[in-house]
């Protein structure tokens, strides 16, 4: 089964659903690493940012003072790996006083029904 899936025969719809803020836990960085590894497998990849996950995309992150790697520029590089479908949950943005202009990459902002529909059409969901 693995051979069949990895040999380029069937393209599946993969969703990475990000729900954690960037530096308080390892979730956000791990998600990004898995996305980059997965990008080599030519799947139909979408990234969604929901709840505190929207904080991952905020412009102007500067981690010098906390001694951690600032991995936010990597989101801008995703395009080079053909990961181009980034979706942000509108209600999560609004609840945090943010707008699309606060984000460091172009995204598509979805309302609840649209986000639910996006999730429902996936064949594989990775939860971070």
């Amino acid at each position: 089964m693995m051979d069949d899936e990895n040999s380029g025969g069937k393209i599946k719809k993969f969703l990475y659903l990000n729900r954690k803020a960037p530096y308080g836990s390892i979730y956000a960085l791990e998600s990004l690493e898995v996305v980059l590894i997965g990008a080599a497998f030519d799947q139909d990849v979408s990234l969604a940012f929901v709840d505190d996950g929207v904080y991952q995309l905020v412009k102007g992150q500067s981690t010098d003072g906390i001694g951690m790697k600032n991995f936010s520029p990597t989101y801008r590089a995703l395009e080079m790996y053909d990961v181009e479908k980034l979706y942000v949950d509108q209600a999560s943005l609004e609840a945090r006083g943010l707008t699309e202009a606060d984000l460091l990459v172009p995204v598509e902002v979805l309302d609840s029904a649209q986000m639910a529909a996006l999730m429902a059409e996936q064949e594989v969901v990775f939860s971070f």
Binding site: R19, D51, A120, Q122, V125, S127, F128
Partner: protein, 101 residues
């Protein structure tokens, strides 16, 4: 249709709330670990679960409820209690699983 799993207490995290907002009619919602507290009667979130039961299936993992000192008679009517084998069956039954960690 997706199977949504929620393993966090509804009083501590927004996981259940966001799950209910971003899930579609016909899907399954499985409450496990600390998520099972949402399956109980008389809580602040009972109305939300009852509302979800109108068009979604809600399950709770019985061993997790029992571990926390609760029995089936404390569970909201309509929530289906399952064991570990039932968990496996659900994962197979639905097209994909979203874990609200």
């Amino acid at each position: 249709m997706l199977l949504h799993t929620v393993n966090k207490s509804p009083f501590e995290r927004v996981a259940l709330q966001t799950c209910l907002r971003l899930s579609q009619a016909g899907c399954g919602i499985l409450l496990l670990e600390d998520g099972v507290y949402a399956a109980l009667q008389g809580t602040q979130t009972e109305a939300q679960i009852k509302d979800a039961l109108n068009d979604k299936k809600v399950y709770a993992l019985l061993p997790d409820l029992q571990a926390r000192g609760f029995t089936a008679d404390k569970v909201i009517a309509g929530v289906q209690l399952i064991d570990y084998n039932g968990f496996v069956d659900l994962v197979i039954e639905y097209q994909a699983t979203q874990a609200w960690l």
